[in-house]
């Protein structure tokens, strides 16, 4: 296992498509992205945002390996930014686009490799106030499709007004352009609201509700969204409810669930219908949708570790 000590707690790790590199992104409101060679353990580059900016926890490499693309907060006006850094130019910033919302969190590139899809969580924070949420009454989360090169807003969808407190935080996209979204609700704790959404460009946002008892058990909070290897099935983790739900992206149907204490990190294996789930207590599981079987993957017993929010298959 690679053991690289980060400046602070990170949130997500992105994998470079051609180099043996990982980019560990600081947890909000952190100010580093450590790009590390996972074979040698050497730090390739510590990327820092401009002063008056911080990262939000997610970044990706472009499929050609040329760019590092990250979500940032422009602290002065609280508006989200998408920055593009050119790796060959020493990670210098070559583009700085608006995210068209507040609190851009996770982002992905569509199959065309030039359209970004960005989850604007909608929640305003300020580094001086730590992680306090400053605008819950007026928050406007959105899913924004943005041209990687021009920064033009191509399409934007939002939850309906009564559900404006449904924060769009985490997403994944498949080859057919379907986006699966893990939602986090910021309203009253007894409200029973949809916690998963799917979106296909040109169509309205589809908010999905698990069967009643499952939806309640999800505790208004989803942590990660990932498609499987086939791109048909999606897993959504609910670490507060100690479960992971599974969904069919063809017909937006709920398929089932798997109990996993504080399970948050999700990764697809190379086989359809299979996922890996990591937990805050340091466990790692393999789940096969066909057999509905969950198996614990034994880790080195001497390793005292807690898996953070997200996981990437290398």
């Amino acid at each position: 296992m690679l053991d690289h000590t980060l400046p602070q707690r990170a949130h997500h790790v992105a994998l470079h498509p051609t180099q043996p590199w990982l980019a560990a992104v600081a947890r909000r409101p952190g100010r580093f992205i450590d790009v590390v060679d996972y074979n040698t353990g050497t730090l390739i580059r510590q990327v820092e945002p401009d002063t008056e900016r911080h990262f939000y926890g997610h970044a990706i490499f472009s499929p050609d390996g040329q760019y590092l693309i990250s979500c940032e907060n422009n602290v002065a006006d609280g508006q989200g930014r998408i920055t593009v850094r050119d790796i060959q130019l020493g990670f210098s910033k070559v583009a700085d686009h608006p995210s068209y919302g507040i609190g851009p969190h996770e982002l992905a590139l569509m199959a065309d490799t030039k359209t970004l899809v960005v989850a604007n969580g909608g929640i305003l924070t300020h580094p001086d106030k730590g992680r306090d949420k400053l605008n819950l009454d007026s928050m406007q989360p959105s899913l924004a499709y943005i041209d990687l090169h021009s920064g033009e807003l191509l399409e934007q969808v939002q939850p309906p007004a009564p559900l404006h407190q449904l924060s769009i935080r985490h997403l994944d996209v498949n080859a057919a352009g379907k986006v699966v979204i893990a939602l986090q609700y910021q309203g009253a704790k007894y409200d029973d609201v949809p916690l998963v959404a799917m979106h296909q460009r040109g169509e309205p946002l589809q908010l999905l509700h698990a069967p009643d008892h499952v939806n309640r058990a999800m505790k208004q909070y989803c942590g990660s969204a990932r498609f499987d290897a086939s791109g048909r099935y999606a897993a959504i983790s609910s670490p507060r409810g100690d479960l992971v739900t599974f969904w069919d992206s063809r017909d937006n149907q709920y398929l089932g669930q798997c109990k996993t204490r504080d399970g948050c990190g999700l990764a697809a294996t190379l086989l359809p219908g299979e996922f890996l789930i990591s937990t805050g207590s340091g466990h790692l599981y393999h789940f096969d949708m066909a057999s509905q079987k969950r198996q614990r993957i034994k880790l080195d017993a001497n390793l005292s570790v807690a898996w953070d929010n997200h996981m990437t298959l290398v």
Binding site: R131, P239, R261, G263, C264, V305, W307, D308
Partner: protein
């Protein structure tokens, strides 16, 4: 079976490593946690749910009597207080049967920021529909009208009860009694066997530490919740800006008593019995100072809260008491961070991801 894809060597999630510092103490063993789980379940949780079941059954009787003999209001109010005492003594447990069927919100829909309980009760009172008095109705009724806050409104109102109002009171009390009885039974028949079976790892819990984590959440998290909702919200920004109606149970004038009962329950959860307790486990880990500080906080908080000679409704508006309550809040904050530290020492992960907020 999946090793053939050789996932492990190449799987790189974001991880946080915990490095032991100072004198090395082994974390508590699964067997030690199992002893605590069994002790707390049998001596703390089960008896408290049984008290809730018996007191709410008495409350249901008392409200039935009230509809025949309106002069029995004081007796019904006393029965309400006993039920609320019992509920406040087990409110910290937010896992297990209390989670099923929205029972946690059904028992106590609070805080009620939109005043839904009043609005919906007034609607029921004006409709006077006898169909709204049946157990079937209450199974599907709005959570705002089926629990203790609705009962409080009906039993501690300035206006005299109408016959229909009394029948509604009795119906809600019957619903609370049914829920309480079912929760007590299910803890005995479902949750206790799960906790007993935890060491096998085959059933609901993967091991005893996982079961212990739920119990430890019930110890640590309520300190913050009680402070935020029951103290800081009514205290607001100062005695002249206080919001007394944000206090829990202000109509029945028992807001401070609720907080004291909550803290007393947490202290019992912490202290266990003479041989088995979280406190003893901390001491065994070489953390006597921390263990005793936590205990002292519980004692001092109880003493300070007992010294306030007003209701919380009055106290938040009085500058001297407001200051005292701010101190209480500060001490609860200190208690909470010490309990979190204790959990780290005991190697209990209260929810690395679930409490992350990202």
């Amino acid at each position: 079976m999946f090793s053939r894809y050789s996932l492990l060597p190449v799987l790189i999630p974001v991880a946080t490593l915990f490095l032991a510092g100072g004198v090395a103490h082994a974390s508590p063993s699964d067997a030690q946690w199992q002893a605590i789980n069994v002790q707390l379940t049998r001596d703390h949780i089960l008896p408290r749910y049984q008290t809730l079941a018996s007191s709410s059954a008495e409350l249901a009787n008392a409200t039935d009597v009230l509809c025949q003999q309106p002069e029995q209001l004081t007796a019904a109010q006393t029965a309400f207080h006993k039920t609320m005492d019992a509920w406040q003594g087990i409110q910290h447990v937010q896992f297990g049967p209390i989670e099923f069927l929205m029972r946690n919100f059904s028992m106590q829909f609070w805080p009620d920021k939109k005043n839904l309980t009043s609005k919906q009760l007034n609607e029921l009172l004006s409709q006077k529909d006898t169909a709204s008095l049946t157990p079937e109705y209450f199974r599907g009724a709005s959570i705002a009208v089926k629990g203790l806050p609705a009962l409080e409104r009906l039993l501690f109102s300035d206006k005299a009860q109408t016959p229909y109002g009394c029948q509604l009171t009795a119906a809600i009390a019957g619903n609370v009694a049914t829920m309480s009885r079912e929760i007590a039974q299910e803890w005995e028949s479902q949750q206790l066997p799960r906790i007993d079976a935890a060491p096998g790892g085959e059933d609901y819990y993967e091991d005893s530490t996982e079961a212990a984590t739920e119990l430890m959440k019930a110890l640590v998290e309520p300190v913050e919740v009680v402070r935020d909702l029951k103290l800081l919200r009514p205290l607001h920004k100062g005695a002249n800006k206080a919001k007394p109606r944000r206090a829990e149970s202000w109509r029945s004038e028992r807001s401070l008593r609720n907080i004291q009962l909550n803290l007393a329950a947490l202290a019992e959860l912490y202290r266990g019995n003479s041989t088995t307790s979280v406190k003893a486990l901390l001491i065994a880990e070489g953390e006597s100072e921390l263990a005793n500080q936590i205990d002292t906080h519980f004692q001092q908080l109880d003493r300070t809260l007992s010294s306030i000679d007003k209701t919380l409704y009055q106290a938040v508006k009085n500058p001297a008491d407001h200051a005292t309550l701010k101190q209480v809040s500060g001490q609860m904050k200190a208690l909470h961070s010490q309990l979190e530290e204790a959990m780290q020492k005991l190697n209990i992960q209260l929810g690395f991801n679930s409490r992350d907020g990202d």
